[in-house]
């Protein structure tokens, strides 16, 4: 079968349908207890219950607010420090051992401090999310700034843009944008994982609602939230790819 045949295009759909059918069949045929594996046909009802109680929208709003704030704080700090260390050898030198000590600490290892410093609240979630984002964006920005073609920087100087801020705005940042965006896209996924992690520790949002449902053995609700997370991430990534396409339309 050639890759271009219409049948080939239907394969992904066929695969999804097969997956749902097996999933539906397993609890119905008694292979699994329904409570351990809720069939997909139970999910729309569970979703409607969550929507009607107002929980679905509220948890989603809370999670999205943690996500966007953590992403913003982490990216802003990452771009800022990455630009600084990318442009200044002194800053690069000062940071090099700090990077080695702090970078290997997983974001989740900061949970105890997040809770001590902020309490179990929004601040703790934003802190944990932003740490993961920060390292990814910081390293991506530093590398991208360092890799900017010196010849293009010389063009800026040749036309009178000699100060560091002028060089940054006129050449370094636009030239580094593709590299910074690669880091941001990785951070987009990383931050979403951190949202769920932070909320499983109790900060209210999709993650905490999911844990509540699980403790009541409302597994269909758990699955509803799992799929909600997948959908939200898919939407974020699509929006990001669209924005990136607009920003990088100068590339062939």
């Amino acid at each position: 079968m050639s890759a271009r045949s219409p049948l080939h295009a239907l394969l992904p759909l066929a695969g999804l349908v097969a997956f749902l059918l097996i999933w539906e069949a397993a609890p119905r045929l008694g292979l699994f207890p329904r409570v351990l594996l809720p069939p997909p046909s139970d999910l729309p009802g569970a979703l409607m219950r969550e929507i009607n109680s107002g929980m679905w929208l509220r948890s989603m709003n809370q999670s999205l607010s943690h996500y966007t704030m953590g992403l913003f704080v982490g990216s802003a700090a990452g771009v800022g420090l990455g630009v600084l260390t990318g442009m200044s050898r002194v800053a690069e030198g000062l940071m090099s051992w700090n990077n080695r000590v702090l970078r290997p600490i997983p974001g989740l290892a900061w949970v105890p401090f997040a809770i001590i410093w902020f309490g179990v609240n929004q601040g703790a979630a934003v802190f944990i999310i932003s740490i993961g984002v920060f390292w990814i964006v910081y390293f991506a920005t530093h590398g991208a700034i360092r890799a900017v073609d010196r010849d293009l920087v010389e063009v800026a100087s040749a036309f009178g843009f000699t100060s560091a801020p002028e060089r940054l705005i006129k050449v370094m940042l636009p030239a580094a944008t593709p590299g910074i965006l690669v880091g941001l896209r990785t951070a987009l996924g990383q931050a979403w994982m951190a949202v769920v992690a932070a909320e499983i520790f109790g900060v209210s949002g999709l993650g905490s609602r999911m844990m509540q449902a699980s403790s009541l053995l409302a597994t269909d609700v758990v699955v509803v939230y799992m799929l909600t997370m997948a959908a939200l991430y898919g939407i974020m990534d699509t929006i990001f790819m669209y924005a990136q396409g607009r920003l990088l339309q100068w590339r062939p």
Binding site: D151, L152, E154, V155, S157, A158, F159, G160, F161, K170, V171, P174, A175, T177, W250, R251, P252
Partner: protein, 269 residues
């Protein structure tokens, strides 16, 4: 050592640029490399000077010093700027160096962003410069959509847009195919007639130098010194590869040939 000065100015005008006793060396790992030694040169306003010399002799370094991108070890550069100029000098790089994230028009307007002109005025000036190089209809293209020759035209327009007192060009046509190069050479002659710009044109191609310039200065040796200066006293429009040009070209080649170099016929057995 020969000292090179401006060609006599019949109208007695002061030189627009004067390079006095210019030397430059690089210090690297405690080792000093002399690149330029005691260079003296003056240009009359509106003059077209070609600077020839083998690769590595220090031509680009000299242009970088003139632009203020490198500091000389000794010597001075005096410029008598044109009051209508936004910048004393503008440089056309060998490899065009357009900013890939800017459209053609915005690349041309780049240097104008350092001036007090507002956006509309900058766009107008950039369009004028693009028209001058014959690329007005490509204003909204991205750099990657241009051919090598078009990119060099845009680079020239970017330099002309800031109305520099002196236009510096660093081997601007050497990476182009012959037909495009000859075409751009003639375009440059036309643009020079229209704008009256003073031009310093660096090339390693001596035929190109004598075809374009009023005067040819040859850099040679290590460190690079001005070995000779030839006035191209040939009436314009010039005929490419005419006998007069070929004779002059041969003379410049002899000027910069190392004296001890074996001549080809010494090797005939």
């Amino acid at each position: 050592m020969e000292t090179v000065t401006a060609a006599p100015q019949p109208d007695g005008r002061a030189p627009i640029i004067e390079i006095v006793g210019l030397s430059l060396s690089f210090e690297q790992d405690g080792q000093r490399t002399d690149v330029l030694r005691d260079l003296n040169l003056a240009l009359a306003p509106g003059e077209f000077l070609a600077l020839v010399g083998a690769s590595g002799v220090g031509k680009s370094t000299l242009l970088r010093v003139l632009m203020g991108l490198a500091k000389p070890t000794a010597g001075e550069v005096h410029v008598r700027p044109d009051p209508a100029a936004d910048r004393p000098m503008a440089l056309v790089f060998q490899d065009s160096r357009l900013l890939p994230w800017r459209r053609v028009i915005s690349n041309v307007a780049f240097g104008l962003e350092k001036t007090s002109l507002d956006k509309a005025a900058r766009r107008g000036r950039a369009m004028d410069a693009l028209r001058l190089v014959g690329l007005a209809d490509l204003a909204d293209r991205w750099p990657w959509q241009l051919s090598g020759g078009q990119r060099q035209r845009v680079s020239l327009a970017r330099a002309l847009a800031v109305r520099p007192s002196i236009l510096l060009m660093d081997e601007p046509f050497s990476a182009l195919d012959v037909a495009t190069r000859e075409n751009l050479q003639d375009e440059l002659i036309r643009i020079r007639q229209e704008t009256g710009k003073t031009i310093i044109f660096v090339t390693h191609d001596i035929d190109e130098a004598v075809y374009l310039a009023d005067r040819v200065v040859a850099l040679a040796g290590k460190p690079g010194e001005a070995k000779a200066i030839r006035v191209v006293d040939i009436e314009r429009p010039r005929k490419r590869f005419s006998l007069a040009l070929q004779e002059l070209s041969a003379r410049v080649k002899a000027d910069i040939a190392p004296e001890s170099a074996p001549r080809a016929d010494d090797w005939v057995i």
